[in-house]
């Protein structure tokens, strides 16, 4: 475990590298339309960026743009602009943020976004994705491809599901060839998938380090940041190098017994997306109790790599299909609840925190139900709080603070009673 690298790892190595990678990425997006570089809009869960990369497409992820707008505090105005167009107060804030961006000529805090040449709606784990890209197809008039990814409705994936997705991938390849004039090369796809797999292996190694005490990083509030390249920019040597360096950084932190809080007092598993528009404030509500997330499900929406999911150069299309089905929100509720239970055990967590968000019913419907089984059947202390991942209007800080404080106070009390019992 001990390494000799700790003194040579610059602080915030991963953050600095990622900042540069994203600056380069957004820079390329800014000139893509003018440079004639084809642009494919994709969703994060189950995305097929390796395939579109074979044809030279630059990927745009509207969900990432939405969360970035949340962090940069411009989501609120984008959402209102979409509501003025006719979108209901009750639909997903990510969608409204994206429509709001479109309405201001795609000017974002990270540069001007390009228009899509192809909308690949990888419908995995979220039905709203279909409605979202149907709307974009309407407004942009762009070519639309619906990649239908069956929900994991039984305990395992069936061969029929894989065959269906592979058949669609072949149809998509033909569409991409027609669109770009580039002939598909399986050798090139295998090469790209090799990079993906390497980055995924490293990412899993990093995630597993949260089993340490103290955990070297917060597996929710920091993992959702570190996961960006494996979600967005897989299939590149840069992303492999990125995770190599992040692993180095995390190992150094482990060696120094350094974690995200001065003293790790509570280990929690967090379910649900973060409150992006109030990210710092949200994290602070946990930090002040010395609470560290040791596992989270939001960091698995882009792929359940820690559950063995991998891109595989020796089974290119089949492994893309299997990956696409294995995003967290594409798992049925029983599988999701079982994963949460295993996380609590494997990462020796003291409690489960459920952040229910209005925008994302895919995540949130069912949470209140399985909370009941965690508390009553499994005896796992569980806190359920509500706000939103996109809409700043739903974040009631004082109310959240009261709930979170009361929960950790009761955990403290439970510990004291347990110690004297």
């Amino acid at each position: 475990m001990a390494t000799t690298t700790q003194t040579t790892v610059p602080p915030d190595l991963g953050k600095t590298m990622q900042r540069d990678m994203l600056a380069k990425y957004y820079g390329a997006l800014e000139t893509a339309n003018a440079d004639g570089v084809p642009v494919a809009y994709l969703f994060i869960p189950g995305n097929i960026v390796e395939l579109t990369q074979c044809f030279g497409f630059l990927p745009v992820y509207p969900e990432i743009n939405a969360l970035q707008c949340g962090i940069k505090k411009v989501a609120g105005e984008n959402i209102i602009r979409a509501e003025d167009l006719g979108y209901s107060a009750d639909v997903c804030g990510y969608v409204k943020n994206d429509i709001g961006l479109m309405l201001k000529d795609r000017q974002s805090p990270f540069g001007r976004l390009p228009t899509p040449d192809l909308l690949v709606c990888n419908y995995s784990g979220c039905n709203t994705f279909i409605k979202w890209f149907e709307a974009l197809a309407h407004f942009y008039g762009s070519e639309f491809f619906l990649l239908d990814i069956p929900y994991i409705r039984e305990s395992e994936i069936s061969p029929g599901d894989v065959a269906y997705v592979v058949a669609q991938l072949k149809e998509l390849i033909a569409r991409c060839e027609a669109r770009t004039g580039v002939t598909f090369s399986e050798a090139r796809l295998r090469e790209i998938l090799g990079y993906s797999r390497e980055a995924e292996d490293l990412w899993v190694e990093i995630l597993h380090l949260a089993r340490e005490r103290p955990s070297p990083f917060d597996s929710y509030f920091e993992a959702v940041f570190y996961m960006a390249p494996v979600n967005m920019l897989r299939g590149t040597p840069e992303s492999v190098e990125y995770y190599r360096q992040v692993l180095r950084e995390m190992r150094a932190r482990t060696d120094e017994r350094r974690g995200p809080v001065p003293e790790e007092k509570f280990r929690v598993v967090i379910e649900g997306p973060p409150a992006w528009p109030h990210f710092r404030a949200f994290w602070e509500l946990f930090k002040r109790w010395g609470a560290v997330a040791v596992a989270s499900t939001y960091s698995k929406v882009g792929g359940l790599y820690d559950q063995g999911v991998r891109h595989d150069p020796s089974r290119p299309l089949e492994s893309i299909a299997e990956y696409a089905m294995n995003g967290y929100t594409n798992w049925n509720l029983a599988k999701r609840a079982d994963l949460l239970r295993r996380y609590v055990e494997e990462y020796e967590a003291d409690a489960l925190v459920i952040h229910s968000v209005k925008s994302c019913r895919s995540f949130s419907v069912g949470q209140a139900d399985f909370r009941e089984s965690f508390v009553n059947e499994l005896g796992i202390p569980t806190l359920m709080i509500e706000s939103d991942l996109a809409d700043p209007r739903y974040f009631q800080e004082a109310q959240l603070r009261n709930r979170i404080d009361a929960f950790f106070e009761s955990l403290t009390q439970r510990r004291l009673t347990g110690a004297t019992a």
């Binding site: 009750d90 269906y164 069912g366 209140a368």
Partner: protein, 382 residues
């Protein structure tokens, strides 16, 4: 206005009865009952298994949400909360199984909530193909139907033969043809059949044994055709957005009373979902799959290769409507998303439209009625 058909009032009571008397009767007779959550489910298979297929539509305001409140958040549509409430209160005890499909994230997850809360019952979730442009969609859906068939065989301890399937398909096709006739009458001669009556007659098909409903439709169609009512000067509208959760009956009546002929709608759409006759020969499962992939009704819950906005304009022109009325359930994301592009193309085409939002528990219709009345006045006399 034609005199209401006597049986419509009886059927309306049946539709609004959240104790499911016909399902209980069937169960007491030793049969099995399978319920489906909207929008569409291939209930021919349930029929072929010798079970009673029942289309669930929530409680329509017939129960207070109490037990379900702690299990489903308040930002979720009424039908989801009330359907769970029915289950938790024991109103669905006569049911042996439930079928859910991928219409939205809420319905999808409700299947998981049902599986956890009603462990002795069978809960099947079907992922129906959304990429209907794919050459693989029919094969995939046939596989999904085969999976449902295997589940039903396990439930019933029976083998479902191809002949039994073909026979059930025929029974459903016969019924669907009559339902199509019913809706054609109200589109072409709405003075003969108000939409609220067509709705009740259609919805009863989700509660009664298929053969009984078919007989009832035959008799009723003859009665309707012999009515002597005449056309009145009313606003011709297309009603859209209620494909899953159903608006209160009184709201539909209020719309009609406000001076509208509802020429078409997507109420209880699952019972009118396969728009065209299915192939009569060959593998019955494949015929259903082909019907779904190539001929499903237009709705916000199924992707289409051709933009839905084009369909809307074409339908509005075919029916020569004076306006479109969007009647969407609160929190229903698919309908609320589609509303924006729809609204945009209607405005460009100069077709008036109005949006009314409803909930199951809605009790005051005055506001909605005034909205519709104002709409009618502005279009007809503006």
């Amino acid at each position: 206005m034609s005199a209401p058909l006597g049986r419509v009032e009886d059927l309306r009571s049946l539709v609004e009865d959240v104790t499911f008397p016909r399902a209980r009767e069937w169960k007491e007779g030793g049969g099995k009952v399978v319920g489906s959550f909207p929008v569409y489910a291939p209930m021919e298979l349930v029929h072929a298994a010798g079970m009673l297929p029942v289309h669930l539509f929530g409680a329509g305001g017939g129960v207070e949400i109490e037990a379900a409140d702690s299990r489903i958040q308040s930002f979720v549509c009424s039908i989801t909360r009330s359907t769970l409430e029915l289950g938790l209160r024991g109103n669905l005890d006569a049911f042996d199984g439930f079928v859910f499909t991928n219409i939205c994230d809420v319905a999808r997850n409700l299947s998981g909530v049902f599986a956890r809360n009603f462990r002795g019952k069978t809960v099947e979730y079907l992922h129906l193909p959304q990429n209907v442009g794919s050459g693989a969609a029919v094969d995939y859906m046939t596989g999904e139907l085969r999976r449902l068939l295997a589940t039903l065989e396990r439930m019933g301890g029976v083998n479902i033969s191809n002949d039994a399937l073909a026979q059930s398909l025929r029974a459903f096709e016969e019924n669907r043809a009559l339902v199509r006739d019913l809706h054609e009458i109200r589109s072409k001669a709405p003075w003969l059949l108000p939409a609220s009556e067509a709705y009740v007659l259609t919805r009863a098909g989700g509660l009664l044994p298929k053969e009984e409903h078919t007989r009832l439709l035959r008799e009723t169609l003859a009665e309707i055709r012999s009515r002597s009512s005449r056309s009145m000067d009313k606003m011709r509208i297309l009603l859209l957005g209620s494909f899953c959760e159903q608006p209160p009956f009184a709201l539909l009546r209020a719309m009609e009373d406000a001076g509208c002929y509802v020429l078409d709608d997507d109420l209880a759409l699952g019972l009118r979902f396969l728009d065209r006759p299915l192939a009569a020969n060959g593998d019955p499962l494949r015929a259903i799959a082909e019907g779904f992939v190539h001929g499903a009704a237009m709705s916000s819950v199924c992707h289409t290769v051709r933009p839905k906005t084009e369909w809307l304009l074409q339908r509005a022109r075919e029916l020569q409507v004076d306006g479109v009325l969007f009647c969407t359930a609160k929190f229903c994301e698919p309908a609320l998303y589609d509303y924006v592009p729809y609204k945009e193309v209607l405005e460009k085409a100069d077709i008036p439209h109005l949006h009314v939002e409803f909930e199951e528990k809605m009790t005051a219709f005055e506001h909605a009625k005034t909205q519709v009345e104002t709409f009618v006045e502005s279009v007809m006399f503006g």
